[in-house]
Amino acid sequence: MSDSGNQTGPDQVNYAMISKKRKYALLIEAHAQDLYKYALWLCKDKVMAEDVMQEAFLRAWKSLDSLREAKAAKGWLFTIFRREHARQFERKQFQYRDVESMDTLADAQIGYDDSPQAFALRNALRRLPAEYREPLELQVLGGFSCEEIASLLDISTSAVMTRLFRARKKMRHYLGVEAAPELGLVKK
């Protein structure tokens, strides 16, 4: 992600002064857990999630000097991860054709909450078109702001907001919280 901040806050000063090793340790400490959840959800496979993560952290270590601001670290790391995932997934896509049909089983193996409600939520998320699903995953799992998501996906903030609006609207519809628009029915 771009180094969005131009403020010189204490974060930035400290970050510039700490060692590369410490930076890396902080990166793991602060973001490995969130990244793992995101990785597992995208990869649907523990081994692959760990592999892509290890590869992403290796790349992060190698280019850690280019990271100048603690605030930008998470977005930067997720960007590296997303690129690595795209690269590996493209190569292995043929193996994942069958995965969709075994989602319930896969979910249980992964260690997700196996209650029907949790499954329904994950299923609703899966059903979303990729363009709506991606920003929602980044917001809910990654905890990114709309501006950060815009930067990660390389689209405008208003486009992100529109996609998030549609994503949640559809989720609510899939989950039966919100009815689909009714035709020709006037409620009194």
Binding site: A25, Y36, F165
Partner: protein, 250 residues
């Protein structure tokens, strides 16, 4: 519904709710405060987000964090080894070889004394790790080979593995004070586990029966190979496979 809020009407508010429920705008907070219906709507959206987050929650494997940390240490060691080699060469050229040879002899003698003790410790720690680590089943042998090669290369630039069609699983694991490549091979007589640890090679090839396993410690360049199997034939086959597959690209 609130008529008094000029900045956001209910429709705009609910739209914003769906795109950014944690919105920090004053007008957003104000509308929520003044309009019970919209506040209810916001809470509903937030509840959905929070349930979704919970449904995707998993525990991060503890060893993953260790491996990420280890990966960096290995990268650093690799860099330092290069530096050390350069420094040693410089020392040799400038300070003369006599001093350096004397230094090496002292180091070597100290290491010899340690070997016996190190051997016991190494085996105990490796077997304990192997017993505790559940194997991930075969995933894809090309991938296992690729991983093994990447990991080996991070120990030693020159160390490589020819593709092995029976390689099942490989990863870098912390084992006590050591860390090493941990992998399994499938043989006609069952599975064999091998661990490669970088360090002082431990003299001779040693076979031991240890906690129901047959173990072999084989000194190889730059470290030791520990082979563990339940069956002697599996051990022999795995050892033969490995000696064919491991090579130094120099």
């Amino acid at each position: 519904m609130s008529e008094q809020n000029q900045n956001l009407d209910c429709l705009e508010f609910q739209r914003l709710c769906l795109s950014d429920p944690d919105n920090q705008q004053a007008a957003f907070a104000e509308h929520a405060h003044n309009c019970t219906q919209c506040m209810g709507y916001l809470n509903e959206v937030k509840a959905m987000d929070s349930s979704l987050r919970d449904s995707l929650d998993v525990r991060t494997p503890g060893d993953l964090i260790a491996r990420l940390q280890l990966q960096q240490e290995m990268q650093q060691t690799r860099g330092r080894c290069g530096l050390f080699k350069a420094a040693a060469l410089a020392a040799l050229l400038t300070a003369g070889s006599v001093l350096l040879a004397g230094w090496w002899q002292v180091q070597h003698w100290q290491t010899e004394q340690q070997v016996e003790q190190d051997y016991q410790q190494l085996l105990a720690v490796v077997v304990e790790h192997v017993q505790g680590e559940a194997f991930t089943p075969v995933w894809e042998f090309t991938k296992a080979n690729r991983t093994a090669n990447t990991l080996l290369a991070s120990y030693d630039d020159a160390l490589q593995l020819y593709p092995m069609s029976n390689l099942q699983f490989s990863r870098i694991c912390p084992m006590g004070e050591y860390r090493g490549l941990h992998a399994t091979l499938q043989t006609d007589h069952g599975q064999i586990t091998f661990v490669y640890l970088r360090g002082q090679p431990l003299g001779d090839l040693l076979d031991t029966a240890y906690q129901g396993f047959i173990t072999r410690v084989k000194p190889v360049r730059g470290g030791n190979l520990v082979l563990i199997a339940r069956d002697m034939r599996a051990l022999e086959q795995g050892a033969a496979d490995l000696s064919r597959a491991m090579y130094w690209d120099i």
